[in-house]
């Protein structure tokens, strides 16, 4: 079983750009209305544990929240013999890298001039693309290894989207690349996002639903916490 965990993959853009590998046979929106806000850390933590983790994560506060590290035994990954999880927030993501992104994001908003903002935005995008390439390589190498569960977490659509969602060419380029990654998977896979993204001028805000797709099962408005049970069920 392979899981493509894509942060902020937006249903309407998958449709618009006609990303067939991301869509697979069955696809739709997830229901995340039980959460007060579509927060990345809350949603992925809830996904891996199969239960709503909002209260627990929010209790840590906005800063400490990003240091969340849920143990293997508390996740559904534990039901697999040889799971491989790549860069997942709340589990094993490269904290320093994602921290660096948030620092640049803050610098962007603090910058006073257009030139400064432009420079920071470029550095921010480059950092996200560089990381994306690294994760992509790691993921594609892991596809050849013998794992009964492989999860790759891709953050580029979220990170770049926040400052560039109104830039259709850039977003299309990202979606095209993510679609290619999905196309390179030869086994059964699930595509899942925590939330989508909606346009706020040239910027992007989280939308109030996520995205899912499979090629084996039509799901009716699944909640993000349903996948733990679902994946365990279909595991043979």
């Amino acid at each position: 079983m392979i899981i493509l965990a894509i942060d902020a993959l937006e249903y309407s853009l998958v449709e618009k750009f006609d990303c067939n590998n991301l869509k697979q046979e069955y696809y739709g929106k997830t229901d995340i209305s039980e959460f007060s806000e579509p927060r990345t850390m809350v949603l992925w933590s809830s996904f891996m544990t199969g239960k709503n983790m909002e209260r627990e994560i929010l209790a840590k506060g906005d800063k400490e929240m990003w240091n969340t590290k849920i143990e293997l035994k508390d996740t559904f990954f534990n039901g697999f013999k040889n799971p491989r999880i790549i860069d997942l927030p709340g589990f094993n993501y490269v904290k320093e890298h994602h921290e660096q992104e948030r620092v640049l994001l803050k610098n962007y908003f603090d910058a006073k001039t257009d030139e400064e903002k432009d420079k920071i935005r470029k550095a921010y995008n480059n950092l996200a693309f560089e990381h994306h390439r690294r994760i992509k390589q790691e993921f594609s190498a892991a596809l050849n290894d013998d794992h009964d569960l492989l999860l790759g977490y891709f953050s580029v659509a979220d990170v770049v989207g926040h400052l560039n969602f109104g830039n259709r060419t850039m977003m299309k380029m990202i979606y095209r690349d993510l679609d290619e990654i999905a196309g390179s998977i030869k086994d059964t896979y699930i595509v899942l996002s925590d939330h989508g993204m909606e346009k706020l001028g040239m910027f992007g805000d989280h939308s109030g639903y996520g995205f899912w797709s499979t090629d084996f099962n039509e799901l009716e408005n699944p909640r993000i916490t349903d996948f733990a049970g679902l994946i365990k069920e279909i595991q043979v």
Binding site: K63, M65, G201, M202
Partner: protein, 73 residues
């Protein structure tokens, strides 16, 4: 798949700009980027939304949203 290619002339200045733009992106060459952009434009039906431009009001809104989502202190 074998595709045939042709040559088009564009100003040097534009090439320099594209070079800068594709740095750190998935595009491996200027040709690849130019093909991608031209495909997009040719395909354009006229009913597509225009590219967005910067506005301070939007920036302010997104900043507040990012704060609510825990990205900014």
């Amino acid at each position: 798949m074998s595709e045939k290619y042709g040559i088009i002339k564009v100003p040097e200045e534009l090439i320099t700009k594209i070079k800068e733009r594709i740095q750190g992106t998935e595009f491996n060459s200027i040709d690849e980027y130019a093909t991608f952009v031209l495909e997009e434009v040719v395909k354009e039906t006229g009913e597509e939304e225009p590219e967005e431009v910067f506005s301070e009001e939007d920036e302010h809104k997104v900043k507040e949203r990012l704060r609510a989502l825990g990205y900014l202190d």
